[in-house]
Each structure stands twice: as C-alpha cells, then as structure tokens.
C-alpha cells in the first residue's frame, strides 16, 4: 500500500540524516576521547603504548596505571601550570568583556546604515589568518619596533615592570604582558560578535519605557540593557575562556618562561618528550577543568537556537 511504503521511505530518510553525522562524530570525536582516557592509564612502551588488557597463560589481566595521574597531581609544575592557564584565560576574558562590551554596545546603537560596515570591519580581522596576526604582535613588541620604542620612551614599561607584568623595563616580548595582550587581541572578535548580535536585537522601546517611568540613562543601562544581554555575555565569555585555557599558538609565539600554559605543556610532552600517556593525562585533566564551562556553553547554544522567534 502506497501509504506504508511512504512511511518506510520517510523513516529511512530520517535515519540517514541523523545517522550519517552521528556515526561520523561517534567515531572521530567520541572514540578519540575514550582512547585518550585509555592511554592516560597506560604505560609507554618503546614505540607504542602497551596494551591495557593482556591475556597471558589463560589469565585475563587489566593493568591500568594511575601513576600518570599521580604524577600530574603531585608535581607542582603541572598544578601551577593548570592554575596559571585558568588565570590567564580568566584575565583575557575579563579584558575582552571590558573592551568588547562597550564596543558592541556602541556598534548596536550606531546609525542603522552604518552598522553593516562596522560589523564587516570587525569580521575582517577574524577572516584574516590567526597565525599571522599573532606574528604581527611579535613584530610590534620586539626591540626596535615602533610600538616598543613608544612604550619604552613613554615610560609605560616601568609601570608594567612595577606591576610584575614584565620582568624588567625594556623587555616586552615573551612576558605575561605580551601574552595577555596577544590573547585579548585574538579573542576580542569572539566576544564582540555574540554581544553585538544580542544587543542589536534588543527592543529600544524598553529603554523608552524605562525613561518614561523615570529612570536615567545610567540606571536604564544597568537595570535593563545589561540583564537582557546576559545571554550574549555568557556566550562571548565561553567562546573566549574555554579555548584560551588550552591555547598553544599565542603562548608559544608571545609567551615566555614566566607564562606557563597547559597547551604548551601538552605539546611539549607529546612532541618533545614523546610521552604519550602523560600528554593524554594532561589532556584528560584539561577536559575535566573545562567541562563545566563547556556544558554551560552547550546549554546556552541549545537554548539560543530554540528561543529564536
């Protein structure tokens, strides 16, 4: 009967549409994570990783080694690196918010005809290579660069040294200062875009109503605009914080001995020390650190797409 056949065909279609990406993700996203966990509890053989489960003389034995986790937990270096990564990520997020919120706000309040151009000008650096823009800061902050000369001449570097952001006046590169500056620069568009999206959709009549009821512009801003942009703030913050925790390129090019970041540690363990289990352990702990913000982000994403009118 035609009806029944159509039912079967429709189910097959549904299965394919959901199934294809689902299976792909299970294999290439979920499975790797399970493998990482497995390797983190394994021992490093000469070339590859010794099997967790061995079957010898009729005896099945499971030999996970939690030693890696113990190492990572006990070693002060790892602990302080995790802490410092969280710290730098948090500082970057706050700075991006401080610079990005007013930026997005004024963009959203600009004349309607100008806004698309403003948006495009924010997007343009985003489309330009990430790597190259980090490299650009290297050029600016290295000795004899014009910005370097400007900072040293104006004495700002003495302030920075006093605040412990640079080890000594005159040394701007490979310092906490250069790292935070670089990360803020790179992640600023990630903060501005969700905020702008949120703020530009806000109904301005709400502010008119507030004004009509006696609120000053300042009060209206804090009591109406900011709470309504909460979703944008959360989205932007997550988009900055989570990747910053595990950043590698910026710390590698702009950071230095003072700036320990867990992304570099993982890289070094893997590429320099060739110690896969430790690298995996570091990765697993990193995931645990960001799992709460990650869940928050996922929840926001789901809600945001549902709530759209």
């Amino acid at each position: 009967m035609s009806g029944a056949m159509n039912g079967v065909r429709r189910s097959a279609g549904k299965l394919a549409v959901i199934g294809v990406p689902y299976v792909w993700l299970l294999i290439f996203f979920l499975l790797p994570f399970l493998i990482i966990v497995k390797i983190s509890v394994s021992e490093m053989g000469a070339v590859s990783v010794n099997d967790l489960v061995t079957y010898k003389d009729g005896v099945l034995s499971l030999s996970p080694r939690l030693g890696n986790y113990a190492t990572v937990a006990r070693d002060d270096l790892y602990f302080s690196t995790y802490l410092s990564s969280l710290k730098y990520a948090a500082v970057t997020t706050v700075l991006c918010l401080a610079i990005g919120y007013p930026f997005a706000y004024f963009m959203a309040r600009a004349r309607a005809t100008v806004q698309p151009a403003l948006l495009m000008l924010v997007m343009l650096p985003f489309w330009t290579s990430f790597l190259l823009r980090v490299y650009a800061w290297k050029g600016l902050l290295t000795e004899h660069g014009w910005l370097f000369d400007l900072i040293t001449a104006s004495g700002v570097d003495r302030l920075l040294a006093a605040a412990n952001l640079i080890p000594a006046p005159g040394q701007l590169m490979n310092t906490p200062f250069s790292l935070v500056l670089g990360m803020t620069y790179m992640y600023l568009p990630f903060m501005i875009l969700p905020l702008y999206s949120n703020l530009s959709k806000m109904d301005l009549r709400l502010l008119e109503a507030a004004s009509d009821l006696g609120a000053t512009a300042w009060v209206a801003f804090w009591k109406i605009t900011v709470p309504l942009s909460k979703a944008g703030i959360i989205a932007g913050s997550m988009l900055v914080f989570i990747p910053c925790v595990g950043e590698y390129v910026v710390p590698e090019l702009l950071g230095g001995p003072q700036t320990q970041m867990i992304g570099r540690t993982l890289w070094d363990e893997f590429f320099s020390n060739n110690d896969w289990p430790i690298a995996s352990t570091v990765a697993v702990v990193m995931i645990l650190l960001i799992i709460v913000p990650l869940a928050l982000f996922n929840k926001y994403q789901a809600e945001a797409t549902e709530a759209r009118p």
Binding site: R9, R10, G13, V17, I18, V20, P21, W24, L25, F28, F29, P32, F33, I35, I36, S48, F103, Y105, F106, R109, A110, P116, A117, L118, M120, L121, V122, L124, P125, T128, S129, L131, L132, V134, Y135, A136, K138, G139, L140, T142, H144, G145, Y185, L188, A217, M238, L239, I242, P243, V245, G246, Y248, V249, G263, W276, S280, N298, A302, T305, R308
Partner: protein, 279 residues
C-alpha cells in the same frame, strides 16, 4: 553639552580606539613587508624583493599547494556533513541521544585544539595499527579540519534552517513535490547563501590551521601555516610579512566585495517591498 552628546562622542571614541587596536598590527605587518632590511621592524627603505623571493620559495609554495587542496576538501565535506547535522537538529526535535549529538557537534567550536588534535591523532594511530591505514599526511589533516569545519558549518546552516518558514516546505509537498524534490527545489535554494558562507568559513579555517595540522601531519605533509609557524618561532622573518600581506589583501578584497554585494541586494529588496506596499 548634554548627556546624549557626551554619550555619542564617547561611543565614537571607543569605537575608533577599538578599530585602531584591531587594525594596527595588521597595518604594521603590511607596511614592513615592503621594508628593505633583514630586521623587519626597523624601517630602512622600500623594496619588493621579499615578494619576488616568494616566487622561488619552494617550501612555502609546496605548503600553499597542500593547504589549498586540504582546504577545498575540508570545505566541501564540512558543508555536506554540517548540513546533515543541521537538518537532524532542526527537523527532528526528539531522537535518542539528541543531547549527546548536539554536544558533540558544537564542542569543537570551543574545545582547545591541542585536545582535539591529540585525541584524534591517537585514535588514528590505533586505527593504523589495526587496519593499516590511514597514513599520516593529507588524509589525517583533512579529518581533523573536517571535525572543526563541521561544527562551524552546522551552526551557520542551522541558524538559517531555523528561520525558514516551515509552511514553504509543506506548500511544496501539497503541490505534489516528493521529499527529495522539496529539498532540491525549495529548501536548497533558500539556504544557498548560508551554504556558501559555511564553505568560505571552513575553507579559511582550514587554510589557517596550525595546531591540528601539526598533530596530524606526516612526513612531507607540511602545510603553509606550519611553514610560517616554524619560521615565526625562530624570530621575525620578512618572507612571512610578504605572505601575510598577500593573504590579507586577498581576504580583504573578498570580504569587502561580498559585503558590498550583499548590502546592495538588501537595499534593492527593501526598495522593491516598499514599492509593492504602496502600489
């Protein structure tokens, strides 16, 4: 000088400083690519020699070629997989494991690349151990980029699908179009622009990627970003400035042209609708 005026000037000031902050490094980079000096950040004199040198820079050119191949592959497959995922999320409100699916699709957007790179590599190594393939190189880099690209493509297509009037697809069915025809004749044309945006975005991301590429590459598979990265790590290098300027130029022209065309189309559309309403 009232509050509104202060507000306006403060706003303009903040925006100007912000844009200055965003563009100053880029401008400096471009400027010093024309600098005749081995030390790129001290100006000596104007020259085009670094650009000339690019033409014979075998390592860079090989890297560019590889990156372009991977980028095109990534973009095409990301859009396909991303569209599948977007449809799954928008059309089917309830299915087993939806939360897990949704989480897996959007996680690569924010997950630090070192984690994604490491885990994918370890899995591919196991796969190679068991199945004999894939060899580390173009294929493995592509898989990593695809994972990332799919996440971005899904977000873009999902947003557009969500805004689509469901009655359009119902009307098509009512008029006799079978589900596949509904997709090709109605849905696809309507999401066309978002598919293009997704393609361009994933192309750019793939072309620019460093971390995933490093983890997943093999002997002889050095992408352009990896070439640039290794040079940048060693210090400042004018060849990098030259490449950077070219890339920035191409991207800028593309983005500005696209924005202009879109804006013009929107304006024409608005005029049409206003004229129709008056008629």
């Amino acid at each position: 000088m009232n509050a509104a005026t202060v507000n306006r000037w403060f706003g303009r000031g903040w925006l100007s400083l912000g844009y200055l902050f965003l563009y100053l490094p880029i401008a400096t980079l471009v400027l010093f690519s024309f600098n005749d000096s081995p030390v790129p950040n001290v100006w000596r004199s104007f020259t085009l020699k670094w650009y000339a040198a690019l033409a014979s820079d075998g390592e860079m050119l090989a890297g560019l070629w590889l990156s372009l191949k991977i980028a095109v592959l990534t973009a095409c497959t990301s859009v396909v997989l991303g569209t599948f995922a977007a449809f799954a999320l928008v059309k089917y409100k309830r299915f087993g494991g939806r939360t897990l699916f949704s989480g897996m699709v959007s996680a690569p957007l924010v997950m630090p690349e070192v984690i994604v790179g490491l885990s994918l590599l370890l899995m591919l190594v196991s796969m190679q151990h068991w199945l004999g393939f894939p060899e580390r190189g173009l294929m493995t880099i592509w898989l990593g980029h695809l994972l990332l690209g799919m996440a971005y493509a899904t977000v873009i297509v999902q947003a557009r699908l969500h805004d689509l009037n469901p009655q359009l697809e119902e009307a098509a069915m009512d008029l006799g179009a079978r589900p596949w025809q509904v997709f090709t004749l109605v849905t696809l044309p309507m999401i066309g622009q978002s598919l293009l945006s997704a393609w361009l975005l994933t192309f750019t991301l793939s072309l620019d990627d460093v971390v995933l590429s490093q983890f997943l590459s093999g002997p002889g598979a050095t992408t352009m970003p990896l070439v640039i990265f290794s040079r940048a790590r060693l210090g400042l290098n004018p060849s990098v400035n030259a490449v950077a300027t070219l890339i920035i130029l191409i991207v800028s022209i593309g983005v500005i042209a696209a924005s202009y065309l879109i804006a013009r189309r929107e304006r024409a559309r608005a005029l049409d609708m206003a004229a129709a309403a008056r008629a």
